[in-house]
């Protein structure tokens, strides 16, 4: 096992990908706990599509991708949150509408200018080759901020996720924390997109929590378990993709799926006993 890791880490680009991936999967899993349990999974998905189009338009126009897409994604996060609060059913539809429309705009912008070039392709499906030194620093900085904010507000996030009306009644600033959650998710998605791909990024948010809720009975254990699952499946996925020459993002998602199946089986088994 250590030989394999040693072998892989000879390549600096893989080391970078490993570090970025571990940080991103860790934070995405933490944010995902609240998003999934609050039935906001669609927001994660919508954000990643919008993030993709912002990135591809920026690439097409020769603008700095991250600097354009982070403000765009923050605005979208606020918008999507607003929609999903207004009305559950049409909120869902509105999110789907926004994500597909933005995808369409992104594709048109790309095809008019550069065509589907390597950069755009990478943002779509992810690539570990594309991770630069500055991506590495950015992802560490942002992940650290997310982690600190999450730990500080953990108990409030629990209260809001469990029962929003009660949280409001006892004077918690629910709006602020939900906004914070949506914005952090958006930023996390932009950071993780390069490695996972826009179309696969939301699985990093959704899968770990979904797997953990099969077996865990406490909110805290779900959070811890999700973080561990997420990091493990990224590392396993990366190793596999190195040896089997498969795309990293897709491989990580498949590992996540396998873990979900295993956890579901354990959950069913535990209920029977």
């Amino acid at each position: 096992m250590f030989d394999i890791i040693d072998n892989i880490l000879q390549y600096p680009f893989i080391t970078r990908a490993l570090i970025v991936g571990v940080f991103v999967s860790f934070c995405a899993a933490l944010l995902g706990v609240s998003l999934v349990l609050k039935r906001y999974s669609m927001i994660g998905d919508g954000l990643s599509h919008v993030g993709f189009s912002a990135l591809s338009i920026a690439v097409a126009m020769n603008w700095a991708p991250i600097i354009i897409s982070i403000p765009v994604i923050i605005l979208t996060a606020i918008l999507l949150l607003h929609f999903s609060e207004k009305n559950k059913i049409s909120g869902d539809a509105a999110i789907a509408l926004i994500s597909t429309s933005s995808l369409a705009l992104g594709i048109i912008a790309v095809s008019i200018t550069s065509g589907i070039n390597v950069d755009v392709f990478n943002y779509m499906f992810g690539s570990i080759l594309a991770i630069s030194q500055s991506d590495l620093i950015l992802s560490i900085v942002i992940s650290t901020i997310v982690l600190i904010l999450f730990i500080i507000s953990y108990n409030k996030i629990f209260a809001i996720t469990f029962d929003e009306n009660f949280a409001l009644a006892i004077g918690i600033n629910v709006k602020f924390y939900k906004m914070l959650l949506a914005i952090l998710t958006g930023i996390m998605i932009v950071v993780g997109m390069k490695i996972m791909g826009a179309l696969l990024m939301s699985s990093l948010i959704i899968f770990p929590t979904l797997s953990s809720t099969r077996v865990c009975k406490q909110f805290k254990s779900v959070a811890i378990n999700s973080a561990i699952i997420s990091i493990m499946s990224f590392i396993i996925g990366l190793i596999f993709s190195y040896f089997c020459s498969t795309p990293t993002g897709a491989t990580v998602v498949v590992v996540d799926l396998l873990i979900f199946i295993i956890y579901s089986l354990i959950g069913v088994f535990k209920q029977k006993v």
């Binding site: 108990n155 209260a159 009306n165 009660f166 006892i170």
Partner: protein
């Protein structure tokens, strides 16, 4: 000390008026019971008083009261069936209101949570998952959470729905004791007229056009609507 003041408040959903032209002053130590038929607007009124729902007309103001001094038991909560949360986690979350930006629980909060679980007889359930409890047990967990949040006022929406008669009776006793011993104001929606009349010091009867306010339970018993509700004529 006055806690909540309502002046000519009208509450409703968009254009659909539910509670019309309603005034009330609530002081510490008051015990207000809200009675009325299903759909008459009792829960809506509570949400207005809590500030969860802004009035269509008029204004509701907190006088000697801050939002984080209120304990609240909702009638029902919208959570996913398989939400993972332990009883202890939920009860403890009632203490959050008094914590600042750094919301970590201290010894004080843990003590309050344990005391309230003891009070409601759910201490033995503390590590159980909320989703695996019976309806009545869940109700008691949410009550314990509400008690943790209570500093000056406790707002309860049908606290005894789904509780067995012994637990319910015990609970009314606990609520009355909190009311008198700690001088905490109570607002309670209830269908249990007996306890409402014996414990409260004022009653609101909700009905379609306008809520009717009674200064004392006796006054309510002697009114036409009270007689109807009491006797079921």
């Amino acid at each position: 000390m006055t806690l909540i003041k309502c002046n000519n408040v009208t509450l409703g959903y968009s254009s659909n008026v539910i509670v019309k032209d309603f005034s009330l002053t609530l002081s510490s130590g008051d015990y207000l019971c809200i009675l009325g038929e299903n759909g008459s607007g009792k829960s809506t009124l509570l949400k207005g008083l809590l500030g969860l729902k802004s009035p269509l007309k008029g204004n509701i103001s907190f006088v000697g009261l801050k939002q984080n001094e209120i304990g609240y038991l909702p009638q029902r909560i919208n959570i996913q069936k398989d939400f993972p949360a332990s009883v202890y986690e939920i009860v403890l979350s009632g203490c959050l209101g008094c914590l600042g930006v750094l919301s970590f629980y201290g010894k004080q909060q843990k003590k309050i949570a344990l005391e309230n679980m003891e009070l409601l007889g759910i201490r033995n359930l503390q590590n159980k998952s909320f989703r695996e409890l019976s309806g009545g047990q869940q109700q008691r967990v949410l009550l314990a959470r509400a008690l943790c949040a209570t500093k000056k006022i406790l707002i309860l929406d049908e606290p005894c729905a789904g509780l067995d008669p012994i637990v319910a009776k015990n609970l009314y006793k606990i609520i009355k004791k909190i009311n008198t011993d700690k001088n905490i104001a109570i607002i309670m929606v209830s269908h249990d007229i007996g306890s409402a009349i014996s414990d409260s010091n004022m009653i609101i009867h909700m009905q379609e056009d306008k809520p009717m306010f009674f200064k004392t339970p006796q006054e309510y018993c002697e009114s036409l609507i009270g007689k109807r509700f009491l006797g079921g004529i």
